[in-house]
């Protein structure tokens, strides 16, 4: 429901943002987010091309955008105390960047 409102995701509180991210359909506009594609490419060095990983590093392709975004926020805010490196990366990105990167990987096929 929130997702249908033409509200900028960047201004919503955390829960609203989550719903917004979850409800956002993988539209043509999103797949054409060239900037998010460029940002997400940095993640591929560890998480694999298109977010499909071999080995211990988790795959992030095809996972729900809201789940990915929430994970990054929890890393950033120090809630994931078992983090080795992701909290250090998460703190480098704005909310808007995290959301758009999350949507990019959510739209990739898992395999």
């Amino acid at each position: 429901m929130n997702g249908r409102l033409p509200l900028p995701c960047g201004r919503l509180p955390a829960l609203g943002a989550l719903i917004c991210a979850l409800a956002a359909p993988p539209s043509a506009a999103q797949s054409a987010d060239r900037q998010a594609r460029a940002w997400a490419a940095a993640c591929a060095a560890c998480h694999g091309s298109e977010g499909r990983s071999e080995g211990a590093i988790p795959s992030i392709a095809g996972r729900e955008a809201g789940e990915l975004y929430r994970a990054m926020v929890e890393f950033r805010d120090g809630q994931r105390t078992y983090a080795t490196v992701m909290h250090q990366h998460a703190r480098g990105y704005s909310d808007d960047e995290l959301r758009r990167i999350a949507r990019f990987f959510a739209a990739r096929p898992a395999r």
């Binding site: 940095a42 080995g55 250090q88």
Partner: protein
């Protein structure tokens, strides 16, 4: 909005029209531009792959002199006998599925006026955009005697993974128990800042098991350990007590290839196996573009175009990196994607990404099973016109762990795929 901006926007519309034609398969197969990439390391191979992956209407040619890709990351494990050289050697064949044209040759010169790359054997390659990813060359002549020592094969660098890595492993195997292995480290910046200290750990790991009376001596031109200091020092003290001796401010100023004796500022030093990591500079093909400290190519970080010759993109270890940005495989891979995006923008008329983000994670082995990392995130600072580390981001491992060794293995597989497959 100035006229320049309007021009860009207009070109952007033209680009979109082409894209529509391309999607409908109505357009001709003539490429919308030709990109030549020189150098197939972590930067160049990634750049070639990503231009084609993101924009198949661009023709991409990758010039690489070697038949196989040998990864510097993980190659210190080969020195320790924990991996074979085959484990860090990969083919270029995976790039074919992206339509990258692979030319096995050596680029000898760039004809800027004709927009051509001259090759040692083949016909010149014309380009619309050129990406240089030549890595580093060694400055043997900066240390008297070192060129002779290098040519004799007596002193190895093993700082470009491959035959030298295998040869240095053989020297370590042949060294008697009770011998001394010395590593000479140049002043920063150099390729892979934590690499020499990781090497000290892994050779010590080998000695501890196989030659326990032997010693590793680290002769560092720098005043202190240049990367992951506390983590390396803790590993040396706790895992290899008495096995590793660290000497700061110990720059190599001469080498006698006949006697194998090194001259340092304060003394002469002899070792059974001497591993000299020489001072470095941008690889040869990019040397006419050097503009920083007589060693590195200065670039403008929104597109990684040379400060000296705009229109030529230079990436990887050859550039004068921005503040806090290491010369690492990970960074080169990230430079490459930024440049792929910028090259596509230039050839399609779409706008350049004005808010690029680069990331880095470097894993180092401190033993056969424990690893540490350093990480950073870098963003474009429009006021300072450079990439800067994001405040509050990045950092080091809290401690060495086995968990991070699993991540390091996974990272290697994933980045190798990301570069080559």
């Amino acid at each position: 909005m100035g006229p320049g901006r309007r021009h860009l926007l207009g070109a952007g519309l033209a680009g979109s029209a082409w894209a529509l034609l391309g999607c409908g398969r109505i357009g001709s197969k003539k490429p919308i531009g030709r990109v030549v990439v020189v150098g197939g390391g972590f930067g160049g191979a990634t750049a070639a792959k990503y231009v084609r992956k993101w924009e198949p209407r661009i023709e991409v040619t990758l010039v690489e002199r070697n038949e196989l890709f040998v990864s510097c990351p993980l190659s210190n494990l080969v020195l320790a006998g924990l991996r074979g050289i085959d484990d860090v050697t990969l083919p270029y064949s995976g790039l074919a599925k992206y339509g990258v044209i692979l030319v096995r040759d050596e680029a000898t010169a760039i004809d800027v006026d004709r927009r051509q790359v001259r090759l040692a054997r083949g016909a010149p390659l014309p380009y619309d955009r050129l990406v240089l990813a030549p890595g580093i060359d060694f400055q043997f002549d900066r240390v008297p005697g070192l060129a002779v020592a290098d040519a004799s094969g007596r002193v190895l660098h093993a700082w470009k993974a491959g035959a030298q890595t295998v040869a240095l492993r053989r020297q370590l195997e042949a060294m008697p128990d009770g011998g001394v292995f010395a590593i000479s480290i140049p002043r920063v910046p150099f390729r892979c800042p934590p690499g020499p200290y990781e090497r000290a750990c892994l050779v010590a790991h080998y000695f501890k098991a196989a030659k326990p009376r032997s010693k590793v001596v680290v002769l560092d031109a720098n005043p202190d350990v240049a990367s992951k200091r506390d983590l390396f020092v803790a590993a040396w003290n706790e895992l290899y007590p008495g096995l590793i001796e660290y000497r700061p401010d110990s720059e190599l100023i001469g080498f006698d290839a006949r006697t194998g004796v090194a001259r340092l500022e304060v003394e002469d030093f002899a070792a059974d196996v001497f591993n000299v990591i020489p001072p470095q500079q941008a690889g040869r093909i990019a040397q006419p573009l050097i503009s920083v400290d007589d060693q590195w190519v200065g670039v403008e970080f929104l597109t990684f175009e040379s400060e000296k010759v705009p229109g030529i993109h230079v990436i990887g270890d050859a550039i004068a990196t921005a503040y806090g940005m290491p010369k690492s495989a990970f960074m080169a891979n990230n430079h490459a994607k930024l440049v792929a995006d910028a090259v596509i923008a230039r050839l399609t008329g779409e706008p350049i990404n004005e808010a690029p983000i680069l990331a880095n994670t470097c894993y180092s082995y401190v033993s056969d099973r424990e690893v540490v990392h350093v990480a950073s995130v870098h963003k474009w600072d429009a006021a300072k016109k450079t990439m800067l580390p994001v405040q509050g981001s990045g950092g080091l491992s809290a401690a060495r762990t086995e968990l991070e060794a699993h991540y390091a293995q996974s990272w290697a597989r994933n980045i190798w795929d990301d570069v080559l497959d």
